[in-house]
């Protein structure tokens, strides 16, 4: 366990930032695809818009927590 943690601790900051931005790009691509579906194929626009906002809110909170913990780790 200690070895694993030491290995993780030796990861380059550039690698961690790249990983974080990869997650952001992935989420943006998925959000774009989902927004197309929820807009184009919606049965109840009002209800469906709320659901999509729910997705974006939770994804946003997770990404903010991800960046905060990265900053707190590195600095």
């Amino acid at each position: 366990m200690q070895n694993l943690l030491d290995n993780l601790d030796s990861l380059a900051p550039e690698f961690l930032w790249t990983s974080a931005f990869f997650v952001v790009i992935f989420t943006i691509l998925i959000a774009w695809a989902l927004s197309y579906h929820w807009r184009e194929y919606s049965i109840d626009m009002h209800r469906d818009a709320k659901m999509f906002k729910g997705y974006l809110s939770i994804a946003g909170v997770l990404m903010v927590a991800m960046f905060l913990s990265l900053i707190l780790y590195l600095y």
């Binding site: 998925i30 927590a65 913990s69």
Partner: protein
């Protein structure tokens, strides 16, 4: 909605989706993978670690959960947009296979010839879901809604509106 024609004055009576059990089984793997970060954070308490390492593990956990959340929402979108819409004139069958892959078909209620309910297995029996097969006149295509909750009630509702449609369209036959 793209590909779906609902005439002016046509009433939407119900929307039928697959049972929540289907969603639960499809997202079970994601739920299991979402537990990994909590396991890792708990395991950290067993070793001497610095606060810095805690934030590193937290960073990885949040990245992991963000990806899983998006994957879960794709499953939810496929589940939610896969629907049967019953109106007072027709049934619209929307098959959402995956993102960017769907099939929309519809048939008039007065074209229905036969509806079969299929409930298979102990889970389906106890959770009350099953598959409806609808045979329509003049087509070899069988319409099917898989794993719909309360299939007998859905069948009765469709048959009730089928009878009404028959009365409107063929008052002498009805």
């Amino acid at each position: 909605m793209a590909g779906v024609n609902i005439d002016a004055g046509e009433k939407v009576l119900a929307e039928f989706r697959r049972h929540w059990y289907v969603l639960a089984t499809e997202s079970a793997a994601i739920a299991a993978m979402a537990l990994l970060p909590f396991g890792a954070l708990t395991a950290l308490t067993a070793v001497n670690y610095s606060e810095r390492i805690f934030f590193l593990i937290l960073f990885m956990s949040m990245a992991w959960l963000t990806i899983l959340w998006s994957l879960f929402f794709i499953i939810w979108t496929n589940y939610y947009l896969d629907v049967w819409i019953l109106t007072d004139k027709k049934i619209i069958d929307i098959e959402q296979y995956t993102l960017f892959s769907r099939d929309v078909s519809e048939f008039r209620l007065d074209r229905i010839q036969d509806i079969t309910v299929e409930v298979k297995g102990i889970v389906a029996t106890f959770l009350k879901f099953g598959t409806l097969h609808v045979q329509t006149a003049g087509t070899h295509h069988e319409f099917m809604i898989k794993n719909v909750p309360n299939p007998y009630q859905v069948r009765d509702m469709i048959m009730d509106w089928h009878s009404r449609a028959m009365k409107v369209n063929n008052p002498k036959d009805a």
